[in-house]
């Protein structure tokens, strides 16, 4: 293959014009930058009468030129690590074309060997510029040694620039489309996250929607645990258990950076020192990752990692989309966490309330809580059961109306507590169907922070059984006293009585005639007294009978 077809000036110009027209037409047919590149590398060799063509785009993250499209070359050649000699690449990166007439004379051994194996002999490397910025390189390769004329180089530069415009415009259009799509997806995710306060649903929605939106293999969310400041895996999608359990990621540089609030895009995880678990990622088939911080109220609360199976140079639109989802997610996570806390708190309060109610219901005394307006705020089970009322009937009822049937009560003690803030106790006797009952009412103030009585707790104790027991005890003591007294009297009288009766009987035996009738009377009466003392000695209970002047005496 020789140089571009040479001819007269007009012929050459027309030839270039034709090539230019065809290239322009070709790249104007498609909008996808990849398609633009494919069209160029496949059509240019014929138009330019060369053997092969490649286009590489600059990866802003790594500063390297990544293969975009190629034609006429083997995969082995294209997979070589270095594109060309460092000097060549630097010159092209600075916007200058570099022509290598004979690669056999190239000082860069790896490239020279690879090129010779491929049969490449001459290479023209051209910068692809857009708006004075190199965005890639285009290489025209021939398998026969040839020199590139100034005209060819100038024309090729124009073509490369034209390709740059097309690639950039296509890229921008594609970015715009993706941004619109991302915007729509952010709206959908926002709506989904706004529709739930369930933390687990929130987390799972984020990983699933973000992974799908980014066309990634998997996605994880790790949240910082406030107590330990450690990252805890809380949600994932598309990843194996073995990979997820590989270990702590908090020490990875990409994690550290993300926790500082910055997104981290890594196009090749296996060769990046910001990644620790390279083997795990290789086994999982992960080639690139994007880590973004999750923020809530300007504070990083965790990270999201999006993992891809291919080497990806994450675009600004993709990073922005991920950041936007992380931000929306952060707010939703914070809300769900708050809701969960409130729910837990509420449940705790409810449990405490039930516990307290159970305690109060276990109290056998009647218990009431009355507010400052003298309305019932609470009543325990004992009160409701004794009164035969339902809680709903009693709550809110006026304290006076609650006791209106007990007209013997005065409610001064309640007023006293409300006005003085001091505890008050009253005991009153109430006559009921089965006799008198005694009730003790103790009103205790509940003082608020302002020192005012906010509620009054009233405990009503039925003292009837206690009072009756006390009365029985008094009666029993009285009986014991009487029996003891009777016994004492019987004992003390018995001996003198015995002496008197016996003496009278002796007299009766000795005496004849005079005084015998009187002695008989003495003996009869002493025997009557003996019977009474015998009764007193045998007393175990007593009944009383009326005596003179309203007094009562014991019946013997």
């Amino acid at each position: 293959m020789g140089q571009l077809k040479q001819g007269s000036g007009d012929t050459q110009d027309r030839r270039y014009l034709e090539v230019f027209r065809q290239v322009t037409r070709m790249i104007s047919m498609v909008r996808d930058p990849q398609q633009v590149m494919e069209n160029i590398v496949h059509n240019l060799p014929e138009l330019m009468e060369i053997d092969a063509c490649t286009i590489r785009l600059l990866d802003q993250a790594t500063g390297t030129f990544v293969l975009g499209a190629a034609a006429g070359l083997s995969p082995e050649y294209l997979a070589r690590p270095d594109v060309d000699a460092r000097e060549t690449m630097d010159m092209v990166a600075s916007g200058q074309p570099v022509a290598t007439i004979d690669v056999a004379e190239s000082a860069h051994l790896p490239f020279r060997e690879a090129a010779l194996r491929e049969g490449v002999q001459s290479v023209l490397t051209l910068p692809i510029a857009f708006q004075d910025r190199v965005i890639g390189i285009m290489r025209l390769l021939t398998r026969s040694k040839r020199a590139f004329t100034e005209q060819e180089i100038s024309f090729s530069l124009v073509l490369a620039e034209q390709a740059g415009i097309a690639i950039s415009n296509g890229g921008m259009l594609k970015q715009l489309e993706r941004q619109v799509n991302f915007l729509g997806e952010v709206q959908v995710i926002s709506r989904l996250l706004g529709s739930t306060l369930d933390l687990d649903v929130v987390l799972q929605t984020i990983v699933e929607r973000l992974s799908a939106g980014m066309r990634a293999q998997g996605c994880t969310i790790r949240l910082l645990t406030p107590q330990t400041n450690r990252l805890e895996l809380v949600a994932s999608v598309g990843l194996s258990r073995e990979y997820l359990q590989r270990g702590e990621v908090v020490d990875e540089k990409n994690t550290i950076r993300a926790l500082q609030g910055e997104p981290v895009a890594i196009s090749n995880v296996l060769e990046d020192d910001r990644v620790i678990y390279k083997n795990h990622m290789e086994r999982e088939g992960i080639k690139s990752l994007l880590a973004v911080p999750i923020k809530a109220k300007d504070e990083v609360i965790g990270i999201i990692r999006i993992l891809a199976r291919e080497h990806r140079s994450f675009s600004r639109a993709e990073i922005n989309f991920s950041m936007a989802v992380a931000e929306v997610g952060g707010a939703a996570i914070a809300n769900a966490r708050t809701y969960r806390k409130i729910t837990l708190l509420f449940n705790h309060i409810e449990e405490q309330e039930v516990f307290l109610a159970n305690i109060l219901d276990c109290i056998s005394h009647q218990l009431l809580v009355i507010d400052r307006n003298r309305r019932v705020a609470m009543a325990n089970r004992a009160f409701l059961q004794i009164r035969g009322k339902k809680e709903s009937e009693v709550l809110g009822m006026d304290y006076g109306r609650l006791h209106h049937s007990e007209n013997c009560w005065d409610y001064g003690h309640l007023d006293q507590v409300l006005s003085t803030g001091q505890m008050a106790t009253v005991v009153r006797e109430v006559v009921e169907e089965d006799g008198p009952h005694w009730y003790e009412r103790t009103a205790t103030p509940m003082i608020n922070e302002a020192g005012e009585t906010e509620f009054v707790i009233e405990i009503i104790r039925d003292l009837t059984a206690q009072r009756r027991l006390e009365q029985e005890s008094i009666e029993r003591s009285k009986l014991e006293g009487i029996i003891e007294m009777a016994g004492a009297v019987a004992h003390e009288i018995s001996s003198p009585l015995f002496a008197a009766l016996g003496s009278a009987q002796l007299l009766e035996v000795d005496r004849h005639g005079q005084g015998l009738e009187e002695i008989g009377m003495i003996i009869r009466n002493l025997k009557a007294i003996s019977k009474l003392t015998a009764k007193m000695a045998e007393m175990t209970g007593y009944s009383s009978r009326a005596y003179v002047g309203g007094r009562r005496i014991v019946s013997l």
């Binding site: 018995s494 001996s495 016996g502």
Partner: protein, 128 residues
């Protein structure tokens, strides 16, 4: 005729018993103090003791126990103005022949003494 010891903290009661039993031909020794009665029993024969349950320092039951140690074959009649099951059971268990409630009738006392001395009384009988 029998040697009879009478112990009652009420002197008139003791004298009355002495008079009643002396008429029946018995030799009666009356006491109002427990120690004096026990001292006497330690130095003289006693066939029958008539003891009041309620004394000044000791109980009649305690005195009976002491007398039984001195004269195991001695008969005894217990007198009380305030009978209780406990004292009655204790007295009988210590060998008392009779447990009588004061004031006891003259004739009844004579009969009980007679029965006790003849040993015809039923041991352990209560006469409350």
């Amino acid at each position: 005729m029998a040697e009879i010891l009478v112990l009652d903290d009420v002197l008139d009661a003791a004298v009355l018993i002495e008079k009643i039993l002396a008429k029946k031909g018995h030799k009666v020794h009356t006491f109002t103090e427990e120690e004096e009665a026990l001292a006497f029993a330690g130095s003289a024969a006693v066939e029958l003791a008539v003891l009041d349950i309620k004394l000044q320092k000791m109980s009649g039951v305690q005195v009976l126990a002491r007398l039984k140690e001195i004269h195991p074959e001695m008969h005894a009649i217990m007198l009380t103005g305030f009978p209780t099951v406990e004292t009655a059971r204790e007295a009988i268990s210590l060998g008392a022949d009779e447990y009588c409630v004061k004031p006891i009738d003259r004739q009844e006392l004579e009969d009980k003494v007679e029965r006790a001395l003849k040993g015809k009384n039923r041991k352990g009988a209560l006469n409350i």
